[in-house]
């Protein structure tokens, strides 16, 4: 079981690095799906089956598909990939990477220097999560609903195409009639 966890963690990390370094955006999205699936395996192994299912259904299933649809809508061609290659080959990337790596080392040191016990291995069933969610965190659920509503309305408003009304002599730009 432990070795399965480490393999899943390794796959998640490698897939994340591949996402960041790809030039083709669809390849990056596929690697992102792999990373999310590996994360779901980790969740399952540490005793959170409900969250593992949510990760696959919502993250890999809904959010990534949304990304893929938008990439299809934008219809980027081969020259976008070429451009990405040129941007990545310039040496603007290694100084930010170095700084982030130093921060990562600091956080790793802080985590390692404190001692913690191993996981107790208790599985937390979905029923328990649901009970807690709808009693203690009820206000959070309602706020999340408001946030999603605002997200839907905002996305609709922002992505709407502006209408161009062309008269015989003058071209006016208006959002609606």
């Amino acid at each position: 079981m432990t070795i399965l966890f480490y393999i899943a963690a390794l796959i998640a990390i490698v897939a994340s690095i591949m996402v960041v370094t790809r030039t083709n955006i669809i390849h990056a999205l596929l690697y992102m799906v792999i990373s999310l699936l590996a994360t779901a395996v980790m969740f399952f192994l540490i005793g959170a089956p409900f969250i593992a299912a949510m990760e696959i259904i919502i993250y890999a299933g809904a959010i990534m598909v949304l990304f893929v649809f938008v990439v299809m809508m934008l219809n980027l061609g081969k020259q976008a990939v070429e451009q990405e290659k040129r941007w990545l080959s310039t040496e603007g990337w290694y100084f930010p990477s170095l700084l982030s790596f130093i921060l990562l080392l600091e956080i790793g040191y802080l985590i390692v220097s404190g001692q913690t016990a191993p996981f107790n291995g208790r599985q937390i069933p979905p029923a328990e999560v649901g009970k807690e969610l709808y009693s203690t965190y009820l206000i959070g659920v309602e706020l999340a609903a408001i946030l999603l509503m605002a997200g839907i309305i905002g996305a609709y408003h922002l992505a709407r195409r502006k209408k161009y009304v062309v008269h015989r002599f003058l071209k006016t730009e208006g959002a609606e009639q």
Partner: protein, 102 residues
Amino acid sequence: MIAISLNTGLIIASIMFFTGLIGVMIRKNIMFMLISIEIMLNAAGLAFVFAGAQHGQADGQIMFLFILTTAAAEVAVGLALIIQFYQKFKTLNSDAANNMRG
């Protein structure tokens, strides 16, 4: 029962978080920056679930659900902005929008 400690889990989560952070900093394509932010949100949720599993409580998983909701709303708005950005500038280069119009 698996014999790993919370430290291991937190280190995995921080490695993924910093991968996302590097992605936000080194990429010029605004789409890749949004995907990198997704990696960072996912890593934060991972840390929450690990901490919840350590204490045997459901709270970590609930926090992950809230992060998931936030990520969904953020992606919807962010992708709408990207579509508008592309229609306006005909490119996904984030440098195209480096000056304000006011």
